[in-house]
Symmetry: C2
Subunit: 326 residues, 2 copies
């Protein structure tokens, strides 16, 4: 099966497992909570995190379908963080729909996030045992810690590549690393196997984020469905901009700093900032960095003990992450 | 040791275990997160929930000091819910100090709550295993569900005793029941022993909340340190008021409904509402209900397998919950 069909096929199975789970919960829980869970969970995500858990278990030759339950915990936790992120950012829209925060309110978004958080932990404990729970909680705590680094660094215009990756770890990579490691653990992989899959996932997550940040400057709006320039408007220090700021001097550097410090200029000077980033090879080198990181992801994969088609899926996923246009 | 000294003595030990734990975390985490955890955790709580876990383990003859780690998870989870409750209620003060929400901000309060939430789950999984995690997550999900019932019922002036207890379960009783059950589980108690301790805790929690709600009308401000009338101002439907509304008719009922529906009247007519509740024996019968519930708590305690002083502590705690004036 090619990657696109694999994603669609597995997403449908994951959705089914989650729907059955939420339906079971519906007997005991408040109808509004159930409505919010259905609204927030089934709004067209690609289910990449649970897919990685499932593939990672198969990579080690385990085809026990209980992995779908373990995998759904990744989607639950991811969705819980989206609910809370929207509260934090007062976010109105996500994937073209009103956020839970906007549609149902602040209390509802905080509480439904807490519910999914606890539910995801219970699932991981039940289907993965204590070692899996430890991996999962470690990732969760790391995600929160990363958000604190980001809060602290928000006004810092002199960020390094290391600062960027520290934020990306919390925002994206730790959970994707945990998704892969949990699948390996589920399949009974040894420490070497677990570490290999964790490193694959972390690097895949980092590359995903770098490409995401590149698309925010260079994406084709007709393909991505999103306007460019959001990160600049919010003064987010992503890799292309960090590279440009490190290299520009004199008038160029002053101009960049001036624009970044001014809410209005950040809205109006997107073309100028893009031009300056390009002049200092910010886009080019961020793209190279993504390639390098994907290389590290692939190099970390151990010998597959299972079906070789899984190895091919991992390679196809790496390729997709690197070359996607949306 | 009498109850007061027991509480002080054990609270100091619990605090020490938590401080060492947070200090260990400090090496790896953002300094602001650590500052918030220290601020929110060490602001003078009585540590009743962890105390109950410790006593419940001793009740079954287990004196392994690892129970302090398991017990601290109860305080972590409780504190996480306080952080989020303050976000939901825009709460400015707690125990005479600025809340985390007020002092550090909304993002910080949401995220630090999420951190403690995940951390508490990891502790329970590690020190209590999968069965303990399942009890703990079940209580957490029940707490959230109870908050949804409360949100849904907030504007309903025709509540029943059952509605009240359904809210109290989520707000107070489920977590206290889980605190007791986790101690029993830690000590290897059988299902009968676990259920007995869970029922003791749930009823203790319910009685605690009824008395809390009575003090909000009848408390001596010099002893409680809190003004009376807060629940009325927020139109909270507590047991004395529910009883009065069920029994009053004609002009008295109309007057109560009129006051409850008007923000300003609720602030100004505290004496009148108190008088009407008293006329319909709302306070008296809520007090009787608390006694009945405490009776059920004590009746649920199985034969103690351990030190009989623990049995005496449980009785003293019940007595304290029922007769406290602050």
């Amino acid at each position: 099966m090619d990657l696109k069909h694999l994603i669609i096929h597995e997403a449908a199975r994951i959705d089914q497992v989650m729907r059955e789970d939420i339906d079971r919960l519906a007997d005991d829980l408040d109808p509004l909570l159930i409505e919010i869970l259905n609204y927030g969970l089934f709004s067209g995500g690609k289910r990449i995190r649970p897919l990685l858990t499932i593939l990672s278990a198969r990579f080690f030759g385990d085809s026990n379908t209980d992995v779908y339950h373990l995998a759904s915990a990744l989607e639950y936790l991811h969705t819980a963080t989206l609910f809370h992120d929207d509260v934090i950012d007062s976010g109105d829209e996500r994937r073209g729909e009103a956020t839970v925060y906007k549609r149902f309110g602040l209390s509802e978004a905080v509480l439904a996030g807490d519910f999914l958080h606890a539910h995801s932990m219970a699932m991981v404990g039940h289907y993965g045992g204590e070692a899996a729970l430890s991996v999962f909680c470690q990732a969760t705590r790391g995600m929160v810690d990363g958000e604190f680094s980001q809060l602290r660094n928000a006004r810092n215009l002199n960020q390094s590549e290391a600062d960027y990756f520290s934020v990306v770890m919390g925002k994206t990579a730790l959970l994707i690393g945990a998704a892969c490691e949990l699948g390996a653990l589920f399949a009974g992989a040894d420490e070497h196997g677990r570490a290999g899959l964790r490193t694959y996932g972390i690097n895949l997550g980092c590359a995903f984020q770098i490409v995401d940040d590149l698309l925010d400057y260079l994406g084709d709006t007709r393909k991505t469905g999103k306007a460019v320039g959001n990160d600049l408007m919010e003064a987010k220090m992503t890799l292309p901009l960090i590279y440009a700021l490190q290299r520009a001097d004199g008038a160029d550097r002053s101009r960049l700093l001036e624009i970044l410090s001014d809410d209005r200029a950040r809205q109006e000077c997107f073309q100028q900032v893009s031009g300056l980033i390009d002049k200092y090879h910010g886009f080019e080198d961020a793209g190279e960095k993504a390639k390098q990181v994907i290389g590290e992801a692939i190099a970390a994969l151990p010998e597959s003990a299972g079906d070789h088609s899984v190895q091919r899926s991992f390679l196809a996923l790496s390729d997709y992450v690197l070359n996607r246009e949306k």
